[in-house]
Symmetry: C2
Amino acid sequence: MEQNLPAIILVNPQMGENIGAAARAMANFGLSDLRLVNPRDGWPNEAATANASGALDIMPPVQIFNNTADALKDCHIVYATTARPRDMRKKVFTPKQAAQEISGKAQKTAILFGGERAGLDNDDIALAHHIISVPINPDFWSINLAQTVLLVSYELKQANDETPPFVLPTGDSDPATHEQLNELMIRLEQELESHYFFRSPDMRPTMARNIRNIFSRAEMTEQEVRTFHGIISALIGNKEK
Amino acid sequence: MEQNLPAIILVNPQMGENIGAAARAMANFGLSDLRLVNPRDGWPNEAATANASGALDIMPPVQIFNNTADALKDCHIVYATTARPRDMRKKVFTPKQAAQEISGKAQKTAILFGGERAGLDNDDIALAHHIISVPINPDFWSINLAQTVLLVSYELKQANDETPPFVLPTGDSDPATHEQLNELMIRLEQELESHYFFRSPDMRPTMARNIRNIFSRAEMTEQEVRTFHGIISALIGNKEK
């Protein structure tokens, strides 16, 4: 099932913190094939483990290679991420565009990310079929390695995601029915009427409609309607004292 | 011009590293209004400066507040980011959906982000009109604070971005004309003919067409066409030795 999920390949990564943060970002969006080419501080790496927040424990073991070509051996399509202009002629995709291309393919895809200081060198980019470049503020284009991995992982998940937008539960209370809201509005109008809220009979329909609109937009729960009845009762009671 | 760009408000942030990384992510996507509510280690913060990679230097000074309500005083619309279900009834947006809502509004928007350990507390969420929740792997939903800021900043930029997809320059050489490519193909076919590449006259048109297709897909530059003429010359020369 996972065999066609893209491999994330960090070439000459320097800081373990960034390797760990990249692994965490991958896990956040369901990726798990992490490969390292010549990590500066070796592997395993304590800073990587600390920054992964447990992500490395739920992924297959990270694979280590001596050169980029070896890391790509089982891959069919290779993308190289770079922010800098290069004297090479390849198609350039945004992360979103690349994710749409990749999600339609049955072949194994690899995405190369360069080290923190200089990015990918030209020999590594020459191994790639296409370029991924994040559309970034031209006045501040120094983007962190793990942040780039996050954006690509996020867009890959977005491209594959056919579930409806994520909605949080609203607690134990159901949404109020139209009738429940209507009863509240009728009661409120009656109380406002008896407390001389509507200055003239002519104004009443418009003012009542405006009030209803406010409550309609609020999409209240049954509990909230009950709460509002309590508010009205309390205000009335206070006034009568 | 910048007055309607959203404010990013970190509530009770703990690690300066994450504050700096958040600032860097904001700068990457053109945001600059960073506010902190009760940063644990005070402000300014050395770790934040180091991790911002210069982003804090190009932004207005970070504003510090004692409580969330004070930080929100000039804001009209407030979003709270949270990954956990809450017993509150508010509209929940993905970062992309929220960015589309925000980019259409003239009012000042604020986006609240909770601290590393526990996120936003319910009192802070109650100050918000809406929720932003990143659609994340339910099996690994521990997302880094700065990574969440990055995703929201990225989607805000995407929603406002009307520029065409970003394409890297291809160096000094222009794309080859059809004529230049055609001359290369004719020469290649002639050389292949004289070197007995085409096994039978029947096969030649199909084989030649297949070769042309390869070169057409490559979308070569003038320089690359010249290079390929050199390759042919070299190969011919080697064969004649």
